[in-house]
Symmetry: C2
Subunit: 410 residues, 2 copies
C-alpha cells in the first residue's frame, strides 16, 4: 500500500518556504513499510485541491493532506476534501463546544470565524488536537483512507503519532524496512559513487542512496522485506562489500556525525581537545560543542582572526608569521601547540586559511587551508586546497580537521 | 500565466531529501511575474510521471520537470514526457557526438548507456548543458511550454538562466513583482503576527508572509502588479505602517541578516569586536565571521567551556566564579571585559549559559543564558531564559547577543 502527501498552502509555493512536514510523515510511513509514491504542494485554491485529492485517492491507498485547516477563508482543505469525495460538510456541535472552551481557557474571546473548524467531512472521524484549535479528520472511502492534518508541526506530529499511526497499523499489511547508513569523510560524492556503484547496482533491494555535504558523504541502504530477518540479511550481504571498498574512510556505520564519533572516542580514552581557529572563526568549536555532553572533552580555545592575536593569545612567534605568513604549516603547527599548552588539553586542532572570496594570493588562493594537530605523540600540519565559496571552504576545513583527529585517535 | 514544477526522482520521496530546485525556479519565475500554482515530486515511474505531466499541461501554461535526465534506466523523464504529449523519442546524431566528445575531453571512456541522453522528444529543442552530459529540452504543445531540465543545481541553474529565461520573457505577458523584507530580532513569531496582522490583513496585494527562525522573524511583502510603479506604490503604502508598529525592533529593511547589519555598523564607526563564548561554543563567532570581509572588524576571542579557562584565558577572578557560578551576570560581564582588554577590541560580547539538555539546576535550568557586553561606554550583563532544545537555545543566545550589540551601536 502506497501513500501520497499533499501539502496545502499558497505560502509553500513561494521561494522562501518548503513543505517539511512530508519528511516527518515519510519517516513515519516508512516505519510501517509504506512507501511514499508522490508528494504535492497545492495553493489555497479549492478547485485545484479537490482535483488533486480526487486524483490521489484514485491512485493510492493512503492520502494525507497537511495544512489549510485554519479558521480563515484561505483554509480550504475541509471544503476541497468534501468536494473530492462527493460528500457534505457537517457542523458538529461537540467540536464547536470544544473550540469555544479552548478559547475560554486561554482567556481569549473567540471570533465567530473559528467555528469553521467545527465542520467535519460527512462520515469522517475527528482527530483530537490538544495543541491547537483545528481538529484533524480521518476519512475512509472505498479501500482508501484520507487524513486531514493541521500544518504546524507541533500540532501535526503528535496527532499523527497518537491517532493516525495506531489506525494505520491495523490497516496496513506489515512490511519491514531496515536501513544502514555509512558516513565517509575526505572523499567527494562522485569518487565514493564510482567506487561502490559496482556493488550496489547489483541489488534492487536494498535500495542505495548517496547523499553528500561538504567533506561528508552518506551511503544509505534501505531494505524492504516481508520479515525483519530478511531485511537484516540483505543488509548484512551488501554492507561488508561496501565496507571492504571504503576501508577506514568510513567513520560511522550508524549515521552518527563525525563530531559525535570523535567525541565518543575522546571520552573513551579520557582525552580533551582544544582549538585555535582563524579562517573558520568558531565553526570547528561550534561543531564539536553542538553535541550534547561535549563538555566532557571540549575545554575551549582561541579565535585568532588577526596576526596580533595569533601571537598574543596562542603564542605564535612573530618571526614565524613574518617568515611563512599566517596561512602556512609552521604557523598552523605553532597554533596547535600553543593552544594545547595554554589550555592544557590532550589534543589540539588549529585551522588557518583563506576562506574567500577575498584575501587570496597567487600562491595561496582562496580555498587554501592549513590544519595543525598536536597531541601526546607530537604535532604536524597538513595543507589543503578546497574548491567552492566561503561557506563551503569553511565547512570542508572543519570536516577535514575532525577527520585528522579521528585518525590520530584510531 | 501560471507554472507547475515537477521534481523527478525516487530519492526525493525518502525522509532525507527535499526538492530544492523548485525554490530557485520559483524565484526566477516570480521575477517574470509568473506564479507557481503547484509543485509535485514523482518517483522514477514512467507511468505515474506521464500522468502527472499530462495533468499539469492541461492546467498550466508552463510545466517544468527537473531531474531524471541521466543515462540509467531509472531516468524516465524523456520517456514520460514523450508519452504524455503523444510523441516519439528521436535519436539525435549531433547530441550523441557532443556527449562522446565531452567524455573524450575528460579522458574517460563513455559507456554506451550514455547515448540514452541523445534522445529528444520529437519537435523539442535541445538546451545546451555545458556543466554536464544531459541536455535539457524545450517543448511547446498547444499554448503550453514544457521544459525538461537536469536535476543537479550546477547544471539546472545556468541552463535555466541562459536558455529558458530569455525564451520565457518573449512568451509571458509582463507582470511585475516587487518585494520588501523586514527582519525583527528579539520577538516571537506570534507576537509579531499579532502586532502587524491588523495592517497586513487589509491588503490582498501585497501578499504578506511571516517566516521565523529562533530569535529572527521575517515579514515578506510581495506586490504583483501590471507596472513597476504600482507595485512600489503598494509597498510604500503598507511598509511604513508596519515600521511604525515594530519601531526599533526592525533591524533590517532589505532582508540582510543581523550579523551583516551589525558588521556594517562596526565597519562604519571603525570599531572592532571580540567574543568570549561558553555555552555557544563558537556559534557567535562563526555567525559573525560567516560574513565575507568580517576581518575588517572581528579580531578573535576565547572559547571558555571550562571554569579553569574562564580564569586562565579571560581573567575572570576565581572567587567571582565561586561566589556567583559560571552562569551569572558578574561572570558574563567579567568575561566581556576580559576579552575586550586582552584582544584590545572596541566592543566585546560574552555568552555563558546552560544550553542543555544536561547541566541545569533548579535556579538555573537548561535555557538560562547570560550575555555580557563591554564597549567604550562601559559594560553590562543581561539574563535570559530561552525555551527549546540545545540547538535552539544556542541560536537564540547568539541572536540576542548580536541584537544587544546592534542597540549599543545605534
Amino acid at each position: 500500500m502506497d501513500a501520497e502527501i499533499i501539502a496545502v498552502g499558497s505560502e509553500l509555493l513561494t521561494p522562501a518556504r518548503l513543505d517539511t512536514n512530508s519528511l516527518f510523515l515519510t519517516e513515519q510511513l516508512n516505519g510501517l513499510g509504506v512507501e511514499v509514491a508522490g508528494k504535492m504542494v497545492v495553493g489555497d485554491d479549492v478547485g485545484r485541491l479537490a482535483e488533486a485529492v480526487r486524483a490521489a485517492v484514485s491512485r493510492s491507498g493512503i492520502v494525507i493532506l497537511t495544512g489549510g485547516l485554519g479558521p480563515t477563508e484561505d483554509d480550504v482543505t475541509r471544503e476541497a476534501a468534501a468536494r473530492a469525495l462527493g460528500r457534505e460538510l457537517v457542523y458538529q456541535e461537540d467540536l464547536a463546544a470544544r473550540i469555544e472552551q479552548r478559547f475560554r481557557r486561554m482567556d481569549r474571546k473567540m471570533a465567530g470565524i473559528n467555528l469553521r473548524q467545527a465542520y467535519l467531512v460527512q462520515g469522517g472521524e475527528p482527530l483530537p488536537n490538544p495543541n491547537g484549535t483545528a481538529p484533524g479528520q480521518w476519512i475512509t472511502q472505498g479501500g482508501a483512507v484520507i487524513m486531514l492534518l493541521p500544518g504546524p508541526p507541533p500540532e501535526l506530529e503528535p496527532m499523527f503519532r497518537d491517532h493516525c499511526l495506531p489506525r494505520l497499523e491495523r490497516l496496513v499489511p506489515k512490511q519491514f524496512i531496515r536501513t544502514r547508513c555509512y558516513r565517509i569523510a575526505g572523499m567527494g560524492e562522485s569518487d565514493v559513487d564510482q567506487l561502490v556503484a559496482p556493488v550496489y547496482t547489483k541489488y534492487r533491494n536494498p535500495v542505495t542512496t548517496i547523499l553528500a555535504a561538504p567533506g561528508d558523504v552518506q551511503i544509505h541502504l534501505r531494505a524492504r522485506c516481508a520479515s525483519e530477518q530478511e531485511a537484516e540479511r540483505l543488509l548484512a550481504e551488501i554492507g561488508p562489500e561496501i565496507e571492504r571498498l571504503l576501508g577506514d574512510r568510513i567513520y560511522s556505520r550508524d549515521g552518527k556525525p563525525l563530531e559525535a564519533v570523535v567525541g565518543d572516542r575522546l571520552r573513551a580514552v579520557q582525552a580533551t581537545i582544544s582549538v585555535a581557529e582563524s579562517c573558520t572563526g568558531g565553526l570547528l568549536a561550534e561543531k564539536i560543542t553542538s553535541v550534547a555532553g561535549s563538555s566532557d572533552y571540549f575545554v575551549g580555545g582561541f579565535l585568532v582572526y588577526t596576526n596580533r592575536l595569533k601571537t598574543a593569545l596562542a603564542g605564535v612567534p612573530p618571526d614565524l608569521l613574518a617568515r611563512h605568513g599566517a596561512v602556512s604549516e609552521p604557523v598552523a603547527e605553532a597554533l596547535a601547540l600553543g593552544v594545547k599548552a595554554r589550555t592544557e588539553s590532550t589534543y589540539a586542532l588549529a585551522i588557518t586559511g583563506v576562506a574567500g572570496p577575498g584575501g587570496g594570493t597567487e600562491t595561496k588562493p582562496a580555498g587554501t587551508v592549513v590544519i595543525g594537530l598536536a597531541g601526546p605523540q607530537g604535532s604536524a600540519a597538513h595543507s589543503f586546497r578546497f574548491l567552492g565559496n566561503r561557506a563551503r571552504v569553511r565547512a570542508l576545513a572543519v570536516q577535514y580537521a575532525l577527520d585528522l583527529l579521528r585518525r590520530a585517535l584510531a
